[in-house]
Amino acid sequence: MKKINFLNGFVKILIIVFMIHFVTSIYLTFFAPDFINISDEFHKNSIFGYYTQFMTLTFSIITFIGLIFIQRGLGITIKNGFFNKGSGLKFKTAGKLFLISGVLSLIFDLMIAYQSENIVLFGNLGLNLLLMIVGFSLHIISDIIQNGSLIKQENDLTI
């Protein structure tokens, strides 16, 4: 349980970092647009136009919601033990959100990399694939937890 507590603390810190990232992004976009300094030409040429700059923020929000679900799942695990239905469901939702965020980010980054012909942008693809693997792993872990919960319940009801 010590490791779960450590992970819970780490996820909480990550949630705070994400919140700071959102606030900073919103501030820079709306109150200090010169700081980012993306040319109008870039926006015109991209598929999503002006909204291109908000796409990564949207994917971050999906990942952020996933993180909240992980934190809640870890909280339930700390309270009720490893095998329970509640944490299994939370991890499953988090896995789905990570998978969605990873796939959308991958597609988006591929499009941007193709459009800008910048080979450096391909570096992000690895991170997106990693996010997808984490999401899929969470999905599998939630299945294991739910099966474990069923076995535990049967064991508890064996007199």
């Binding site: 049967e154 009801l157 064996t158 007199i159």
Partner: protein
């Protein structure tokens, strides 16, 4: 569940209380209550043996199969 636990009937026949039986066979009254109410998923042979010994009966006196249809 088509398996009925007739522990209550046997307890009445032997004039024994649930608490006494739980103490003799070495399980908690909560677990005995689960067994009596039919909520139990399974019963260990060792528990069944202990119940049969305590109540001087056969497993068939405690467990009964009733067709679900």
């Amino acid at each position: 569940m088509p398996i009925i636990v007739n522990l209550d009937i046997m307890l009445t026949k032997r004039n024994m209380k649930s608490k006494e039986l739980a103490e003799i066979i070495g399980i908690t009254t909560a677990n005995l209550s689960i067994l009596k109410s039919g909520k139990a998923k399974a019963i260990r042979f060792s528990t069944l043996e202990a119940i049969c010994k305590a109540l001087e009966c056969q497993p068939a006196d405690i467990l009964e199969y009733v067709c679900a249809e």
